[in-house]
Point group: C2
Chain length 213, copies 2
């Protein structure tokens, strides 16, 4: 298809597609003439992946570039590429050393908790720093600084995550698997947040729905 057709199918403007081509996020089409190139379904799939990371995942162009580089690098394992994508999704990424004693203590607490749960996590996983930041916040508001607060949620999340990872179809090629893994991570995180807020609204209505006198 022509670039105008790729734009119509994806809902992404021609100018934006050209920008992605210049930045190397999208591979060039097959040249048909000096001024026209031909794009295929793999370009459409790639564009949708990019837009999902930006629109739903809230990733910056820099994070998308880094994630796609890992997706494309066949010399690294699916697991390692997935780790890069996960890190890009964390607001605490890149992780910086922090002099603040409370942050240091919270990061140690997260390590203790993960060790207790026997979860195998990279030492520098961004989600660890993110969870530590939340603990610092909760501590400031009087909830204490123990990750054990999350034990029940972690039990349920652990079972769900196992099902999600099983769901990735390894009869597919690497780029399809990576796309499934990245979209799954981004889209389901967004969906779960929205569902939680809907459930909170329902229960809030039942408890606080009438004006307090």
């Amino acid at each position: 298809m022509k670039i105008s057709e790729l734009s119509a199918s994806s809902g992404v403007s021609v100018a934006t597609i050209k920008y992605y081509l210049r930045e190397g996020l999208l591979s060039p089409g097959v040249s048909r003439s000096p001024n026209q190139a031909d794009y295929g379904d793999e370009h459409l799939a790639r564009l949708r992946l990019i837009r999902a990371m930006i629109d739903v995942g809230g990733l910056s162009i820099a994070s998308v570039t880094q994630t796609l580089a890992a997706v494309d690098d066949t010399s690294i394992s699916i697991h390692d590429a997935f780790g890069v994508a996960q890190d890009a999704l964390s607001p605490s990424w890149p992780i910086e050393p922090d002099d603040d004693e409370r942050v240091t203590a919270a990061r140690r607490e997260v390590d203790r908790w993960l060790h207790k749960r026997r979860w195998k996590i990279r030492p520098d996983a961004a989600a660890k720093a993110e969870l530590a930041d939340v603990l610092v916040l909760l501590d400031q508001f009087g909830w204490g600084c123990s990750a054990d607060l999350f034990d029940d949620v972690a039990d349920e999340t652990f079972a769900q995550a196992a099902a999600e990872i099983q769901f990735v179809d390894d009869s597919q090629d690497r780029s399809t698997m990576m796309r499934q893994a990245v979209i799954g991570t981004v889209a389901f995180e967004q969906a779960y947040g929205a569902i939680r807020r809907l459930a909170l609204e329902h229960h809030s209505q039942r408890r606080f729905g009438r004006p307090k006198r």
Copy 2:
């Protein structure tokens, strides 16, 4: 305390505190002299709430302003104020009418699903539009467009949310309750996202940890 002490206790710069004072996010201190005002613990609590919404919740100043206005307006119920805070947390907010047929169909699907589950949700809740956007995305990637996909997660989330709402202490005054509700929503959403990504990493390691040959 002086503004410099408020800055030291909160970790927020004096310039930023003055900006919040000008924007009305923070109420003025008690004047001690023409050039000095005195700030109390309620200012510190307020500053922490503002920073949590911005740093952890990712809210814009405009959304924070709108949320705090609802928190402060004692003429509206806790439940309604909580709804404003929830909406501010949704990336789809404000909700715009959408001509796209797929979006319209997905929004109808979310309504059907919520009705099936008997969740009492405001017709214009932002989280509904957010969930519909995720369904459109999943549909593009071949997951289909049925919200029933989320039934198991919704069962667990529903029970958790009931516990969280019960946890709000109604022996406290309105502003303390609102602070608990807003911080709880923001902080736990972030924590649950991070925990899910950690659980995915653990299971990904077990399934894909070695390079695929």
